[in-house]
Subunit: 202 residues, 2 copies
């Protein structure tokens, strides 16, 4: 039996930190895993920037609540969920993602969480487990699933390579140079075709 | 971080085989895991009965498509999905469950599948993995989740005991005699209270 796992931001939702950067005008928050491959380096920098600008969780949630799924994302995800099981594997935090999951009709999401003090300051982040995407694929394979994985970023490469089948969705050119053998889809129509084919093959 | 796993039939949907028994008048199809604890014995009997009555997958799907979720199930499941992540762990088959999952707004479902020949005869069933519910809980714990499990039947006991927290939902009296230490909920209001409490405890 087959199951899909997919990234969230850049696939179904806009990059939340980029959106926060745009709304707040704080350019340093624009960096993503596309730019800095070491997630801990990236997150430590983000939290330092938030502290510097005295931005609290409530401020971030207000911005995030105004975001919408990418054009066509809801339809594409609804289609996928009629065809197969899917779990979203994201290195976001539940405090960020929750206000947006309703707009995607609550697909199952595996992610991380934040440490927040009584004043709403984000004092730390908790990775539920290191390399959670790759580990989730291993666990699903251990449950005798044939896993099909897709995402757009460097933090998706591990799960894509661990999966029985994997491909990129709308990735930056830099990844394609680094991983030229991974198949690529660039829009939801190509995504549907790739998934249909993957589900058909025995 | 916490995640819920739950049984499907008897919790959110009616028992599908019981419904098929009622609609077809074939009393032998009424048996469930509540009655026969050995799942292979139960399924082998069911398939023999189907063959005897020349019932094909299309006949079963027609009956199943007429079923509705239990009263209050959609609302309860929607509430749960706003509060936490949940995966449905069921020993049903995807060919049976799929027509009904739309009515539950497509929660993620881990189950099994059937072998069906060109004429629609169900010639066998494929357990994706033995003790899939218990194994799924182990896998989720391996991903550093605190797992909260609930179900109504003997085939839920393994996952309930393996989980960090577990309880019954509307079980038959026979299970309560066999497993007197497992907490019990008997309706969706009690379910919500139990889940709220479980999610609050650190």
């Amino acid at each position: 039996m087959k199951i899909l796992v997919a990234d969230l931001e850049g696939v179904f939702l806009p990059e939340m930190w980029v959106s926060v950067a745009e709304k707040t005008g704080i350019e340093e928050l624009r960096l993503t895993t596309r730019d800095i491959k070491d997630y801990d380096v990236l997150m430590t920098k983000r939290l330092a920037v938030l502290k510097e600008h005295n931005l609290k969780i409530q401020d971030l949630q207000k911005v995030i609540a105004t975001l919408e799924p990418l054009d066509g994302a809801v339809e594409a995800l609804n289609w996928i969920r009629q065809e197969a099981q899917i779990i979203i594997l994201s290195d976001t935090f539940e405090e960020f993602a929750n206000p947006l999951m309703v707009k995607l009709n609550f697909p199952t999401l595996f992610c991380h969480n934040l440490t927040i003090d009584g004043q709403g300051n984000i004092t730390g982040y908790n990775l539920r487990i290191n390399n959670q995407k790759t580990e989730a694929v291993k666990a699903l394979k251990g449950l005798n699933y044939h896993v099909i994985a897709f995402g757009d970023s460097y933090n998706d490469v591990g799960m894509i390579q661990e999966a029985n089948q994997g491909f990129f969705f709308n990735p930056p050119d830099s990844i394609l140079v680094d991983f030229p053998k991974v198949p690529v889809t660039r829009n939801y129509q190509e995504l549907k075709t790739m998934i249909s084919t993957a589900l058909m093959v025995a």
